[in-house]
Structures are given as structure tokens and as C-alpha cells.
Amino acid sequence: MEETEFDPVILAFCCNWCSYAGADLAGTSRFEYPTNVRIIRVMCSGRIEPTFVLEAFKDGADGVLITGCHPGDCHYVQGNYMMERRFAFIKEALKHLGIEPERLRLEWISAGEGEKFAALIRDTTQRIKELGPNPLTKTDAAIEAFKAQRLRWVIGIQQAGLKVDEQRYKAVSLKIMKDEIERQMIIVEIKEKGPQTIKELAEATKISPKEVLRHIIALKKIGVVSEAGEKEDAYLYKVS
């Protein structure tokens, strides 16, 4: 089979007022850049949910670029700040999924920065080429985690203005995210392969048995999993 050069596909979310206009200016000025990017226009970078990014990786995007207005310039006052706070969570989530966090990038581009936009696409394309194709690990778990109320609420309270100490918030919120993703991984694993023991789940998901146990207990408490028989001196767990 012939060796073809890896031509990545990069999805770029651009906000209507700043970065999309910057991309247009790159066009008007005829600044050339590689053909690897596909642009999706939104009104504000604040519209972009973590699930959009994760779905993109699930569908095979090799890189995702989020662009918005410079801090202080957002047309809707603080949409870009909200995106910035969400971004930290998505990056962490990628680490849990075995996707290189460098595949996701956030940059501020104003409507007058045509050359900067072109340079950004060139640079991003090069970086993604060096990273290689999307490892296509399972992102379903993370997608479900970011759809669920618990994690969304925790991210949301930061947007509304923290009432708790910043350091503490960071520690707590990242732990919640990790837990939710791991729990969804367990659920996905059971749904795909049928009821399993804690040892089997630990091997399949690469989560430590101690943690799997903790998650199973929590999931049992809210009625999501329950016992389904025994195997080798351990319970099998099914999704209720």
C-alpha cells in the first residue's frame, strides 16, 4: 500500500463579530494557508459547549480550533470569558480520554487580524501534522459526562461568579469532572460488553480497581447500576 501524507482535518469555531471577520480579512487580503480547516460560524464563542468539541473528536477531527474576540472586546460582553473558563475543563477531559490536549487550541483573533488568522491556520496545521491522526479513542463517556447536570452545574457556578475560594474550586471541580467521565466509561463498557465484575471493569477502562469500586457504589446509590449475578467471587454489575 502506498504511503500517503497525512492530511489532517481541523475544525475551527469562529465567532461572527471578530474571528470569522478576521478569517474573511485573510481572504480579502489573499493571505494563503493550507486547506485543512473547516470553519463553523457561531454568534459568540460563548455558545460553544464542551460537547461540540468532544463530538468533533469523536467524528474524527484531528484538531479543533476555537477562536473568539480578544478579552474585553466580546460583542456580548463576556461570552469569550465564559468560553475561556470552559476551555480548562475540556483540556483536562482530553487528558482523561487519551487524546493529546495539544489537539485543542483557543486563540483570540480580532476582525482586523487577517494575517494573524492565516498564520494561526498554518501553525495549527503543522502542529497537528506532527501529532499524527486522531487516536480515535472513545469519547462517548466524556460526551455523556458533559451532558449531565452535575458537571454542567459545577462549571456553571464559576461562570456566574464564584462564591468559594479559587484553589478549592479548581480542585473540586476537576475531581467532579474526572469522576463523571470515569463513571460514564464504566456505564459505556457495561452497555457494550454486558455485565462485568469490578476487576474486569478496571482492566477494560484502565481505572484502578479502588476507584471503580468507589464509582460503582456511587452509581448504585442513584440506581444506575445494580448487581446481576456473581462470577469468580465477585459481583457482576449491570446497567439498571
Binding site: S29, S110, A111, E113, G114
Partner: protein
Amino acid sequence: MVEKTVMVVGGGISGIQASLDLASRGYKVYLVEKSPSIGGRMAQLDKTFPTMDCSMCILAPKMIDCSHHPNVQLLSYSEVKGVKGSAGNFTVTVHRKPRYVDETKCTGCGVCAQHCPVEVPNEFDEQLGTRKAIYMPFPQAVPRAMTVDKVNCIECGLCQKTCQAGAVDLKQQPQEVELNVGAIVVAIGFDLFDPTQIPTYGYGRYKNVITALELERLLCASGPAGGHLIRPSDGKIPRKIAFIQCVGSRDRRFGTTYCSSICCKYSVKDAVLIKEHEPNSTVSIFYIDLRAFGKGFQEFINRAKSEYGVRFIRSSPGEIMEDSETKNLIVWYEDTVAGRIDNTVFDLVVICPALVPRTDASELAKVLGVEVDNYGFFKASNILTNPVDTTVPGIFACGYCLGPKTGDIPDSIMQGSATAARVAEILERRV
């Protein structure tokens, strides 16, 4: 008879704001602009102080609103030649210069310019960049149409041959139109004082002495240097830059005695922009008084000093000399605070000239019959109570053609809106 039609002369930010407010009010607006595109000075700027917004980014939507508004008729590349009548019923003669391109057909695609063989300096870039004989002054021009500069055109016809839309018409004729309006708003803006009048500063003789507007074009991402600051003599990156304030302002010998109001502000902005581009550069501002009043400005200066290390030297330099080999500049000055005379070598010297009335302002004033003050700016009928009325009822003025005032963009916009209110007061027949 009271016509619910208004003419706005001048398509800079002040004229654009007045036009938009008047048009939204339901009046028909003729927006007359001398150059091929509206936008004025603000289109030439890189960033605006102190918010550091990209100037074109915030201007372009307003320009597009103006062109799309059903009540605004844009008469670009046109001039006012005669006015008769009085408030409520003026007859204005407008001379429409031929651009040799059919505005209704041209899509602004730019293919003609790519083919045109003639290259000349670009006025929009203050002669630093180039354009073709068939050109659009800047990419975001409104109307989005090309113009032929017949002075430099060699009539080779290649533009006409390569235009897919059939929009080039090299035989186009000028037109004179007569328009009936109820009120007139003047918003023609300003010119820069010509620094060659102060020979000791060397502007015009030394290539690396430039005006602040030339610096703006160099700093602008869509300007001739693509936003990478280089100096005109050899394209080197300047590392030591000086700003000289009050050139032709507050001056009894050359120029004018008034303060132009915005130069201290924009020079600090430019200094910060340069430091952001090149953190290793040294930027020094020579000033007499640091007139940075206004919202957010003192705080901006504090940041310029503490965060960016911009140096402020209280001095009006005496003389600038050039090193003929390196083309560097030697600035001689008396530091009035330290109490000594000194000289420093700089790679680039930026002159902040006075902002003066346009050369065509006095002619327009005569045509309109309005008075100008002793500086040549349009005179307000009462500086305290009627700041945007001229001395002729029914004719109003806004923006820098009224004189410095606070001089900055929000001020020009407020004046534009204020003239719209005054026009409404007249056309609604209340006062």
C-alpha cells in the same frame, strides 16, 4: 416649504453617525463624500485609545449600515459646489466626479487592479504604500467599487478587458446634480499641519522623521508594512523611537496657538503599541504638558510608564540632525525637569503635528455662507449654548471641522448625533 431631507457633507465617523441617526429618524439623507470611499481618518488608524480596539473593525459595521440604509443615498467622489436658500429649503449643487467605473455593476472583486500596469503611491497609506491607477482605497471601502485615477492612468484599457462584470467605463462624464434639502450638516474633518514648515525638525529631508499618521499606517496590520514596524529609509526594525509632541500646536512662531487635544493621547497609545510589538525597544515621548484627560486615560498613562517602560521627557526639542551614514537621528533637547541639555540618538522620530482645518474648508465655508473662527475652523453660533450650530440657521457642523474640542472619536460621534437632534428640531418645525 420644509423638506424632510438632509445633506451631510463629509463621510468620516462624525458624518456617518449624523447620517445614521438622521436616516433612522426617517429623514432622507444625501451623504456627500469627496474621496472614493467613506470612512475618513478613522479608517487610517490602527488602534484607538485607550481601549485599543482595532479601528477598522469598529468602523466597518457603521460604514456598511450607512450604505445599506434605505434612507441614505451615498454620493461618493462628489463635492458641494453651490448653495442657495435658507433653513428648511436649501438648494445644493453637487458636482459628481467621474470614477470611470459603473458603481451599480462593479462588485469590488479587484481583478482589474491586479492587471493594471501603473503603480503609484497610495494616499490612504500617506504615500508609504502603493496602489494601481485603478484602485480601491482600502479593502473595506464603501461603496465597494473601484475608481480610476485618470491623472496617472495610461488608458491602456486592460482593466476594461479583464472586468467580468463590464463595469469599467473610461468615457464616463462628470455630473452636476441639484438637490433640495431642509438642512445641511458639515463634517469634513481635519488635515495635518505640514511639518516641513519647521525646518529644524527635518521632516521631508530626513526619511526617518515621519508623522504620527504615517506611523499609524506602518503599525496597521492591513497597511504597507503588514503591521511589522520598519523605518522608511532602509526597512530596519527601529529600536529607539522618539515622539515629539506639539509640532505646530501651542506655537506662536509656526502653526497655531491652540492645543490639538488628542496628540498626547494617541502618542501614548502608539508608544504602547510599539512596545507590544517590540518589547526590547526604547520609546521616549518629548512633551510640554501631558494632556491625557478623558475616560480611562490617566490610568493608561500609568500603565505605559510602569508596565511598558515608556519614557516621558518634559522638553520641546530644539533641533533634529541626521547621521548621513546610518540615517539615524540625533535629537537635541533641554530636559526641563532634570535641568540639563542633552542629545540622544534615535532610529525613528515620530512627529505629532497639529491638526488644522482642511485646505478646502474656507472655500466650503464661503459656498455655505458660514463664518469661520480665527483658526479657520467652522464657528459655533454660541460656543457655550449652541456648540453644533454654525452662524447660518439650518446649517450645522460636527467633528473636528468645528475645532479641537476634546477631539476624539466619542466626541465626534456625540456631535454627529447632536446635529441630528438639531436638524430634527428644525424639520419638526418646533424651534
